[in-house]
Symmetry: C2
Subunit: 219 residues, 2 copies
């Protein structure tokens, strides 16, 4: 049986964006059942949870074979079980894996600083000075990505785990027009998140986040 960890509460801005969404989506695409171990903001700091997830975050993952952390690693593990996420051909599989890494390390590594400014530091003096440079770096990476995608529906033609990861990273920018205004990336993101398995995963995360007692939100 597959078990993943997820929070029972997060601040409003994070709802629908916590990284267990990536794993839930992959499991839905693969048609694999799973159970959720809900944790709160205290439990994530316990030795028992740290042994499962060394950085005290979600998601962590467990099945009959492995105990894992890092959404990227969990996605690859799940993807290896299903041709819905990874093609059978070894060369095509490797390309799909490349896009998983590209999403995390060539796109998210630029997107994250912009999200941090927008969410936590908007209006601060340093952020006003720095933001244009950060946004310019994001624009450059998105232009590279759009050029690579071209007129294909997905990054390697058919949907893979690489598109799944890329879409979750592009969604971080959804309160800006950086993706939505792009004639290539806007429809691409809409195509990815329009998939029924994404919608099911999103609904499941939002349900989990309603599990906390009211006292949790008051802290």
């Amino acid at each position: 049986m597959i078990t993943i960890s997820a929070y029972n509460w997060v601040p409003d801005f994070a709802k629908g964006f916590v990284r267990d969404l990536r794993v839930r989506w992959a499991l839905e695409e693969a048609g694999l059942d799973y159970t959720v171990k809900l944790i709160d903001q205290d439990e994530k700091l316990t030795p028992a949870y740290r042994a499962w997830q060394p950085f005290c975050q979600v998601p962590a993952y467990r099945d009959d074979e492995v105990t894992l952390f890092e959404s990227g690693a969990i996605l690859l593990h799940v993807a290896q079980r299903s041709e819905a996420l990874l093609p059978a051909d070894p060369a095509e599989r490797a390309r799909a894996v490349a896009w998983v890494f590209a999403a995390l390390n060539s796109i998210e590594i630029y997107v994250e600083p912009l999200a941090v400014i927008d969410l936590f530091h908007a209006g601060e003096d340093w952020a006003k000075q720095r933001c244009p440079q950060v946004e310019q770096a994001v624009r450059k990476r998105l232009a590279d990505l759009a050029a690579a995608l071209g007129d294909r529906p997905y990054l390697e033609g058919r949907f893979t785990v690489g598109d799944l990861m890329m879409a979750t990273v592009l969604r971080i920018l959804q309160d800006t027009d950086l993706v939505t205004s792009d004639p290539v990336l806007g429809p691409y993101l809409a195509r990815c998140v329009g998939r029924p398995p994404f919608q099911k995963a999103l609904a499941a995360q939002l349900t989990s986040l309603q599990a906390a007692p009211a006292s949790a939100a008051a802290r």
Copy 2:
């Protein structure tokens, strides 16, 4: 035959830190021969190179089976060919892969903004305001990593591709005392980079970086 791309010139601060080092190190650990396609700062922007590496960076990789980009994806592909980098046991393999992702997405994503400040923006007003927060975030992640490592020589006991990637990320901090002063991570990094395959890879990168004509450095 395996071919990787690498630069023939970079600024001094980047020498010994360009990401083809990760791939060279993995190939040395695996005992696999390779040739290097040297490119300059103009060639990386050509359509031909972009088709190989969509973000116009190094390394890109090609063998008889696959054409790949992203150092993480290349490392996993190489590692699958050698038990020197990945254990045979599926659960142990998955754990090693988790550390590759942790290096890139739980550590480097915090380390990179600090390196960007130190290398490109030291002394700027915004950087002076922001730097303490960035450094605090790095310290927290390094503490989590040190706790996970504990008294083991490597992250999962024996050396894997996860340690290889982690060491290349920790090296980014080597001009600070954040890693070297840590009683767990300092010796860990020294242990990783003391491996002969790392030293051989480092020497090979430095040799490639002397290949440019003098005019390249003057631009």
